[in-house]
Subunit: 346 residues, 4 copies
């Protein structure tokens, strides 16, 4: 059988990536695409790379248009998902809704309000099945909160150490570099090619980035207590990819052997997360365009810290791939269906 | 049924791209990979993005190792294919051999000798099925000469005009920009990232590039007479992609309507070659990682010339995708099998 | 003595480059900077790299603000220069005005109207002193039309051949690749970093680009008759630089020796234009940030054509450097003053 | 008067950058350039952007060739400087030697041996005049150890906090992204353009990078005690530039006001180091090609940490600019002589 899907927000980078993946998914067919200001155009006017879907018309993003599908993927600005989901709850009680926005990721209403400044819309099952206990929560789910891109890379780097009790919950530092697609597709002068090629710069420094509570939530789930993170995102001169460099203090008595064992245990059976052989380090260049994740970990004996690095494609595993992976689980399909593409290199 | 494949030259960019495509091909499985100096290593040591094939051992490139497969893809330096093909002709009479190198592309022994300086190895069916009459030549073929990357982009730009008799055979000018993967994976100082990022430069100027006779051959097939080309390749600061800008004088009486009609007729039924709607121009950014081709054509009334542009991924449609497409035809599979991936954008 | 300068349009890329060069010019000091929508801001808010001028206030672009300087550089949209120049003609009769826009480049009112669609504002001395006879026209000039970036690269590539009578005036083809700064600093979605990194695409194909009449004008000056050009610009994934590849048919009897001699004669004494030793080809990477120009020429015997390539920095020699060079000549300074910077490589 | 200079290692990126700066230095003229394997070639064969020095011959790197200059700059692999310096001590007792290599940077013989594995060559005055007390040590110096690129960015980020006693000496974390020129000019396959464009990856993870003891030394000078650093370098897809993100725990009672005051006090009078206005963050794009440094600092109240970011050009302020700046001080010239170039943007 083939499930029908609607993708809302099809003109942005996240929506485009969902469509790229679904276009070759064997069990799902894209029936409807919507956009806001581009409604009325053909899809190839805004996504010229999607040749197989080129002639699809872009509809306005309304509950009526989104009704009548098996799966609805919401790639909308934060705040826009909750009303759509509520309308669908009435009209389409069995629909699977995957929210690529942030609205339903945080358990803590207070953290939501502190960082987003609006009312908390509630929490949905978290679409990062590689975290302990999360995969089962996605089975038969009808609502999925797709994780943020930085949290995905940060959590996959460090969670094994917290699950195994090897890391201290203070003085955790994560510095992550993201490709410019992470900043979205809105026309802004500081994101022009001439500005971003050849330049690196930080932003949201000093603890203000909205992905921080999501990172702390995920580490906290693993640690069983609050984990305090210093997180700095930087913009790197590449279209896609995130490289997260994460470091935390080792608990007393923890050595390199137990660190290696913890990361191996966490990812040994995972289809997408690859703990690299010792001595090799992740590169975004090896995962671009794929749902694959490269992780490596080392112990810095002098500093008494673990350093873990994680490379993902921010639009695939960091966004649309996670949506498809979660969708597969929720629909009872093989988890890797439609995600078999290798990374595109060079 | 699943065909077994061997890929020779698996450590280079062309070989890696063949493996990337075959890794998700439903009817072919990669059984053997070979390399020269890296024999003995694991594949992920040289192709870290190919996660599903990571643990395959690299064998030396010998006829013995390559024997016993349904398909053999040769991604070797020019001159190396002929002896391997001869050995396989004896040991594996039914094997399908796809030569990604240049050895068997040219009909003219003299053109071969003029541009390559060695003895002509003979000519095999030419793996560009979009050229008139070539698709049928690939059915049941056991040998395929995979086209060069620049010829693919150049021919797909201009052939419709020659097939329809709209273009003069003199003063044809093609200037093409290629991503740096086109220069291969050998360590050379002038190809370092610091040298190539942010810089454009021509090379092989003045009619010396070895792809010239192949371009003239293909245009000549369509024109029914010799076509004389001025071809200048340039190196562009991107990993992949070729943009060919090709221009030729119109024959007397040819107007924009007949030009449009000729290109539409040529590509209307093609699954991979997309003549864009009028007013939109090709971008390598829309075809990277895919076998798709974007073509556009315009008439410059003032200059009395047609200008046709073609964008391909040099490693996919320009190399490995053409090999897989030709393989599909030769094996009697659906031509698009395993090539359904959309371009990767942004 | 130190000349005072005002730069109008200081928030764009061209204006910023003028300021970068004037900031280290020993005989000129920047007294006033103006901008349109950013008036009221500090210069470092829009040009954060200009540390020595960081605290200068941006004034609105009015004749009153621009009055009272020895030199006024206009980096404004086309159509905006003429009224400013007229106002200054009354208020500041001796001021040197350099127009970086297109308004005063074309002799032909008809060509202006055909390509720009507005009324012709007149013609000023053309600021490309390397063209035959142009340097003397800049001495004591009070008005200078700074050449366009594509014309600069195109003319420096081909003019020696036309001056020497070696090239035919038909079937001239120029394909040029420009860095994205050439598209300006306005926020447009298709110029975002995520769109432009890693992608090449043509634009203005088919003879519509506004630089065409300027290229034909300059070649015509050298040839003494009309030269018909097919010109295609392409956007390359780099911040700066233009590589022009230009080719024209040789007149009967012209050989490689006479070609080499013509180009050597044209540029042997030029301080900024470097005809490279035979066998080496220009790279934008060798001229970025400088007023230097690299040129090379070859004869394609098979095609009966000359191929000439020229690399410039579109913002320096292609815009602001040409303005400073022309200013030096007009003010009676050493032509190279303030332009001694070498290219920035790697 | 004009000082004569010799540059050893003129074919590499560091040597090329020294030459680029000295080519426009008003008080120094380059008399001799040397290289190892390229001796006998002209300079423009290896540094095609240095048009004003194009015809200089490359000599072998021997004490005899380097003798007879006022200034000798050594841009050699580590281990090669000490014997040259010793030979010059006899032949040219008054020569100023600037060592761009690491040999003479570390006070601690043990740290040298731990990280470099060879015998310690001794320590020279450290060429980072912006560190407290270091400028005076460079006056009249005849030997200068030019700092490493990562240490320059790391120290300029954090030293003000240690000088003012605001930061704890444990759990200091620095993650730095460098352009690929930082990896040098040797032909290595993993540094090819096709590998490095579009990809980020860490290296030397886990406390093994040789710049660590130099960073700890400089922070220790400011703190008056040992500072323990976790340092992770990453390779970014750009030719030049370093962005260092550095974070350390605040001492009890330290607030944002005292942090701001400390950084302002440190850099208020510095000609090259710019503490940005609050709310603006450094970008390598604003300092490329210049000796300028952009610094910003913020307090993360939730994490109890300071986050400081520093952007430099790794080849200019990170290498050759620091050499010229130190040379100016040692020769009694104005410190900024020959370093007035603004950053090249866009």
């Amino acid at each position: 059988m083939s499930y029908s899907a609607a993708v809302a927000g099809a003109s942005g980078y996240a929506g485009g990536e969902v469509l790229r993946l679904l276009a070759s998914h064997p069990d799902v067919h894209v029936k409807t695409v919507t956009a806001h200001s581009q409604a009325g155009q053909r899809l190839d006017q805004v996504q010229p790379h999607l040749h197989s879907l080129a002639s699809m018309p872009l509809h306005p993003t309304t509950p009526e248009v989104l009704s009548g599908h098996d799966v609805v993927v919401l790639a909308l600005p934060h705040g826009a998902s909750a009303p759509v989901a509520q309308a669908l709850a009435t009209s389409d009680p069995d629909v699977l809704v995957l929210d690529i926005g942030a609205d339903h990721r945080l358990e803590s209403a207070r953290a939501w309000t502190d960082f987003y400044g609006t009312e908390h819309a509630g929490v949905w099952p978290y679409g990062l099945p590689e975290l302990p206990g999360r995969r089962v929560g996605l089975s038969d789910a009808r609502r999925v909160a797709v994780p943020g891109c930085y949290p995905t890379a940060s959590l996959l780097a460090l969670v094994p150490g917290y699950s195994a009790g090897l890391l201290e919950p203070e003085d955790v530092v994560i510095v992550a570099a993201s490709g410019v697609s992470g900043a979205g597709r809105a026309a802004k002068a500081h994101l022009l090619g001439a500005e971003t090629m050849g330049a690196m710069s930080p932003y949201g420094v000093g603890g203000s980035h909205r992905h921080i509570p999501e990172i702390e939530q995920g580490l906290g789930w693993a640690a069983g207590r609050h984990v305090q993170v210093s997180f700095t995102p930087t913009l790197a001169p590449m279209p896609r990819g995130i490289l997260a460099t994460a470091t935390a203090r080792l608990t007393p008595g923890t050595d390199a052997t137990s660190v290696r064992a913890a990361w191996e245990a966490a990812y040994g059976e995972e289809p997408f997360v690859h703990l690299l052989p010792e001595g090799r380090w992740p590169s975004t260049g090896a995962v671009i365009g794929s749902n694959h994740v490269q992780v490596q970990v080392a112990v810095d004996e002098r500093a008494g810290r673990v350093v873990a690095c994680c490379a993902i494609d921010n639009l695939t595993k960091g966004t649309a791939g996670a949506a498809v992976q979660s969708m597969n689980i929720a629909l009872g399909l093989e988890e890797t269906t439609g995600l078999e593409q290798e990374g595109l290199a060079p």
